[in-house]
């Protein structure tokens, strides 16, 4: 084995190769597919997947999972519009509140998993249900007086327009990618995350605060989900019920297609970036091919399975 190309790096490269292959195929079959407008759309849509997948990846790295993403995202989106009431002056407080909701939900998830020993699947699924109920109840099924509010104009300008022709979602995504990479590879925290993910008992015996690390990661996952919610209302103007539903499957798929081990301890965010791009490229390509909805879903699922199968074979050689 070449020492420079570890299996982890190889998977990241695979993920980019697949993304590139899908995009080239689209470009050949559809002349408009490779245009900047079209690519730009792919990138923006992939950015939203990328945000939630960042949080999902962090908990998957320690062998966990976050199933509360859909309603943390949705809840944060609703909190943003109902508290800002579309007024620019209220934007900072509304942003803080929306992110705070995400952080709080994630923190509760982390405490449940790390201190109470609740299995991650159960804890986060329960949290998803609680937040769904809260969102529906407090907004009376999104019919409350303030529920018709739009996101404040500056936020909408930013995400609909962009900065110097570059979509804001894309800029934020680049920021998130940098942050994730720095966090995981250059900080002591990142080192501890991988140690906990690979062998939590040995990490504990090496003086790592395993519980603290776990709580921090779930909290971050909540923040990333809230961030995605904020940007989705910035993009679309108003929240809807079920806004976050597609993102549970997509976040998990992007993480595993990006080469992160679902068992924890291995993977890079750059792989997850490629995973997000691949998923969106496949969807866009199938739409361009005018494949009907049911066919798209089937092919989408199959593509993920094929990619994972390839990883599984790769792993057998390690």
């Amino acid at each position: 084995m070449n020492a420079a190309i570890t299996p982890d790096v190889r998977r990241v490269l695979y993920a980019y190769a697949v993304a590139a292959a899908v995009l080239s195929l689209g470009a050949v079959l559809h002349p408009g597919f490779a245009s900047w407008t079209s690519l730009r759309a792919v990138l923006v849509v992939a950015a939203f997947t990328g945000f939630v997948a960042a949080g999902q990846m962090l908990v998957v790295l320690v062998g966990g999972i976050d199933l509360s993403i859909p309603w943390v995202l949705n809840g944060a989106a609703i909190v943003l519009t109902t508290t800002s009431l579309g007024q620019s002056s209220r934007l900072p407080q509304a942003l803080a509140l929306a992110l705070g909701v995400g952080a709080l939900a994630g923190f509760a998830n982390g405490m449940g998993v790390a201190w109470l020993g609740v299995p991650a699947v159960v804890m986060t699924l329960g949290m998803n249900g609680v937040l769904q109920g809260l969102s529906l109840g407090l907004s009376k099924g999104l019919t409350c007086a303030s529920c018709g509010s739009y996101a404040p104009q500056p936020l909408r300008d930013l995400f609909v327009g962009g900065v110097a022709g570059i979509p804001a979602a894309l800029l934020v995504w680049i920021g998130v990618a940098l942050l994730m990479t720095v966090l995981l590879t250059l900080t002591t925290f990142g080192r501890r995350v991988y140690a906990v993910g690979v062998n939590s008992r040995a990490a504990f015996l090496s003086g790592v605060g395993v519980r603290g690390v776990t709580v921090a990661l779930y909290t971050l996952s909540g923040v990333f989900a809230a961030l995605a919610g904020i940007m989705l209302v910035g993009y679309g103007g108003q929240p809807s019920l079920g806004l976050g539903d597609p993102y549970l499957f997509e976040s998990i798929a992007a993480v595993v297609v990006g080469g992160v081990s679902i068992l924890g301890g291995r993977g890079h965010y750059l792989g997850v970036v490629a995973g997000s791009l691949t998923l969106v490229a496949v969807t866009t390509f199938l739409q361009a091919q005018r494949v009907p909805e049911y066919g798209r879903l089937m092919i989408y699922g199959l593509v993920i399975l094929v990619i994972l199968f390839a990883y599984g074979r790769d792993k057998a050689h390690d």
Partner: protein
């Protein structure tokens, strides 16, 4: 329960071997558990397997009954080759039944369900007749004279001794041609040992081959027709009679003189660690002092509280009572993080590297640096240059991996190098007190020698070292003093270097037979 095999299958001639293993090799990761091991047992004999912990007895048993496969070599049961792993049903067809040391009962099932798990009473259509479970199990329990065990009880609720008995009854009830019992008496009180001995003799007289292991020499002398002694993964002798003294010599195996560094010349300083009436887990009020520059051995039979002592001192398990003082000041260590702190400076090198020490897919650098990350960081960032130089210098000092790149995954290293990686992590913490728990387990001879020298050097530098090893010989030769633990208490203290491992083994054995 139907018999699994009929007696008529047993060849009439005793010249045919019941069990034959030849040239068996078996490794786990980098650890060679069996090397060129051979073993033979006849029908109609009780054959004891003796040896220290880690000598390869349990591995041999697993290979013999087809639970794991041998890397090389042949295994035959009544002349029939056992290749690869054998499924339970096929194992019973071979006529082999095994009671494992780590019991194979399912804790959440009832005694009846466990007893009849492999062969439940069936009705038409092959469905299990649950109504017949309890009566059938009761019949079996009565047949083996243990009807004091309630077949409807949940297995987890039984005492360890009763669980052991259920495991044994399950094996006996299969009426096998070859019975293998791994440490069957470890958890049994005397009266049940007699009960088991009776059944072993009955099976032998019926022409069955009975193989068992025990750490109690008295049992081996009373029960066994022949004894095979194992050491370091291979058999060193098979005899009809072996005296205890001779067996101890065979089991511990004298290493050539000069293998161990001379520690008697090393000066011992003031008390660094004082442990007072420490209890918790298996520990019952243990008190001792550990001095600067001292290597204090902790010996005794396996599982007498040694592990709990080490883990409690390191904060990895809670103490139920007692106090620990370091440098004259009483300290409370709640978790390993506290123990590692510069002020206390305790390091624990675990026995089971893979489970407790290593991060196999991560690099040498990540593994070595982990316990001291925050000491080489600025604002939460790793100071990479400082890290590189620290890792490089300690790697060179310990000669890790023959100068392999520090970004190499630890999983690719040999067992000896992996152990050095764990040692390196703890040496970087600059601890004053080192808790070395069986650090030479599964390590090749050359690395063992390196580690002995390293331990002596560390003591010479003034470290206080608590040393446990499953190889009693190491404790005998490498320690200034030896504490013998028995049932969580210190039962003897021997001045060192003891030199003669037999003394420690004798001290532990004598105490155990009194129990």
């Amino acid at each position: 329960m139907r018999p699994m095999s009929t007696r008529s299958e047993i060849p009439p001639s005793a010249a045919v071997l019941a069990v034959r293993a030849a040239g068996v090799h078996r490794a786990f990761g980098g650890v060679q558990a069996l090397r060129d091991a051979s073993f033979a047992a006849r029908p109609g004999e009780i054959h004891a397997l003796a040896g220290e912990n880690g000598a390869g007895k349990s591995t041999l048993i697993k290979v013999l009954c087809g639970l794991i496969s041998a890397d090389r070599g042949t295994v035959e049961i009544f002349g029939q080759q056992v290749r690869r792993v054998v499924e339970p049903a096929a194992r019973r067809r071979l006529g082999v039944a095994t009671a494992f040391q780590e019991l194979s009962l399912l804790p959440d099932l009832t005694v009846a369900e466990n007893l009849l798990l492999q062969d439940p009473p069936r009705g038409r259509l092959g469905l299990v007749r649950r109504g017949r479970l309890v009566p059938t199990a009761d019949t079996i329990l009565r047949k083996y004279g243990v009807d004091y065990i309630d077949s409807r009880a949940t297995t987890a609720d039984l005492s360890v001794a009763h669980r052991q008995i259920v495991e044994l009854v399950r094996v006996l009830a299969q009426e096998p041609r070859v019975v293998i019992l791994d440490e069957p008496t470890a958890a049994l009180p005397d009266r049940q040992v007699e009960w088991l001995a009776g059944h072993m003799r009955r099976l032998r007289d019926a022409g069955c081959c009975v193989i068992f292991t025990s750490h109690r020499w008295r049992e081996i002398e009373q029960l066994a027709d022949r004894v095979t002694v194992f050491r370091n993964g291979t058999q060193v002798a098979t005899r009809d009679r072996i005296s205890e003294a001779e067996a101890v010599t065979l089991m511990s195996g004298r290493t050539l003189a000069g293998t161990y560094p001379d520690i008697s010349a090393l000066p011992v300083g003031e008390t660094v660690l004082r442990v007072d009436e420490l209890a918790g887990g298996r520990l019952r009020k243990v008190s001792f002092d550990l001095r600067r520059g001292e290597i204090l051995g902790v010996g005794g039979l396996a599982g007498q509280g040694q592990r709990d002592l080490f883990l409690t001192l390191f904060g990895a398990r809670r103490a139920a009572a007692g106090t620990v003082s370091i440098g004259g000041e009483q300290v409370v260590i709640r978790r390993p993080k506290d123990a590692i702190r510069v002020g206390l400076g305790i390091a624990y090198v675990p026995e089971d590297r893979k489970a407790e020490g290593l991060f196999l897919p991560l690099s040498i650098r990540d593994n070595v640096a982990l316990a001291t990350l925050s000491r080489r960081s600025a604002g939460g960032f790793v100071r990479r240059r400082a890290e590189r130089s620290a890792v490089t210098s300690i790697s060179e000092q310990l000669r890790i991996g023959g100068g392999r790149a520090s970004n190499q995954a630890v999983g690719t290293l040999s067992g000896g190098n992996q152990q050095k990686v764990v040692m390196a992590r703890w040496l970087l913490t600059d601890a004053r007190i080192l808790l070395l728990f069986d650090v030479t387990r599964g390590v090749d001879a050359a690395t063992k020698h390196d580690i002995y020298q390293l331990v002596a050097d560390l003591a010479a530098q003034g470290k206080a070292i608590l040393f446990h090893s499953s190889e009693t010989e190491e404790i005998a030769n490498l320690c200034h003093r030896v504490l013998v633990l028995r049932e969580g208490r210190i039962s003897a203290e021997l001045p060192g270097p003891v030199g003669d491992a037999d003394q420690i083994v004798a001290a532990s054995l004598k105490e155990a037979s009194d129990a």
